[in-house]
């Protein structure tokens, strides 16, 4: 019950942050990505502000034996850099560059009462379900999980894989 309240509060803070930083206005985001045009640095300050908090706060939080209201931390276990990660990031990047929305802002923007975020969210859910469907049917596992570490110009610590 306490956890549910925390989730709600956290979501409200996040949504407030997205609104205040104007990240729900896709023109602001596209302006940041448009480095050769008239550049909009806003997103840099948003991401910079957010990461400044997490880089410091997470250091302390992750030293706790367990979260305040939970038994353990649910952290991602994958550490290797595989094709799935890279391809996924590329596809996400293309979509983001076309739409100017990423998941968080698009959901928050639903309160604006305009059609853009509605269409985006519907398509985003369709895309997500399509990946789920496609990945279970294609013989994609081995290819996707293969490490690209050897292709990178820097050392990657060995990690454990998870399908």
């Amino acid at each position: 019950m306490k956890q549910n309240l925390v989730a709600l509060i956290s979501g409200v803070l996040f949504g407030l942050g997205l609104g205040l930083s104007q990240m729900i206005d896709r023109e602001r985001v596209l302006g940041f990505l448009d480095v050769t045009g008239v550049w909009d640095p806003t997103l840099l300050f948003v991401l910079g502000g957010a990461v400044s908090v997490t880089v410091i706060a997470f250091r302390f939080v992750l030293r706790l034996p367990h979260p305040f209201y939970g038994e353990n931390f649910s952290l991602p276990t994958q550490k290797n850099i595989d094709r799935r990660l890279i391809f996924g990031a590329v596809i996400f990047g293309v979509g983001w560059g076309i739409a100017g929305y990423c998941p968080g802002p698009s959901l928050t923007a639903l309160v604006l009462g305009i059609w853009n975020p509605v269409l985006f969210v519907m398509a985003m859910i369709a895309g997500s379900l399509t990946y789920k469907w496609v990945s279970t049917r294609l013989e994609w596992g081995e290819f996707a999980r293969s490490n690209v570490s050897k292709d990178l110009p820097f050392d990657v610590p060995p990690g454990n894989s998870r399908s």
């Binding site: 956890q3 602001r28 908090v53 649910s74 997500s128």
Partner: protein, 152 residues
């Protein structure tokens, strides 16, 4: 010489601090990563068995609504004076194509700007750093192509 548009670094920074705080709260109390694509995908997969995800997503909307109706209009709230609401112009194909790719790609790559960007970088994850650099670079190239080559 690079042209820079009018912007408000204070509102950007404050918004970012709020986002970082939100992620810290969710991690410190519930032990979960505030990655929107992950939360949404898991919510869709598991339905209402775990309610917290739906409450978080509802909070996203509530927070946005709170800003638009209460916080934003306050005279003390720092915002840019320029109205960039050109971004509100109806762009159905960009939304459908872009949205599909974002949904597909974030599921494949296990994260988005909040998951890999805010939280992953906060955890000093190399995997997330690679993801962030990759999707940022790709998005920048995409905008260059769509705006300066294809003139969309």
């Amino acid at each position: 010489m690079m042209q820079i548009t009018e912007f408000n670094w204070v509102s950007g920074l404050l918004g970012g601090l709020l986002i970082g705080t939100s992620a810290t709260v969710l991690l410190a109390f519930n032990g979960h990563i505030a990655g929107i694509s992950g939360i949404l995908n898991s919510a869709l997969s598991s339905g209402f068995s775990e309610v917290w995800r739906w409450l978080f997503l509802a909070g996203l909307l509530a927070g946005g609504g709170l800003y638009e109706s209460v916080v934003g209009p306050l005279p003390a709230t720092p915002v840019s004076t320029i109205a960039l609401r050109a971004g509100y112009a109806y762009a159905p194909w960009a939304m459908l194509v872009g949205g599909f790719l974002v949904g597909f790609g974030t599921r494949m790559g296990n994260g988005c700007t909040s998951g890999h960007g805010v939280c992953g970088l906060g955890r000093l994850s190399l995997r997330s750093l690679v993801a962030v650099v990759t999707f940022l670079a790709t998005a920048i190239v995409t905008v260059f192509v769509t705006r300066h080559i294809l003139f969309w």
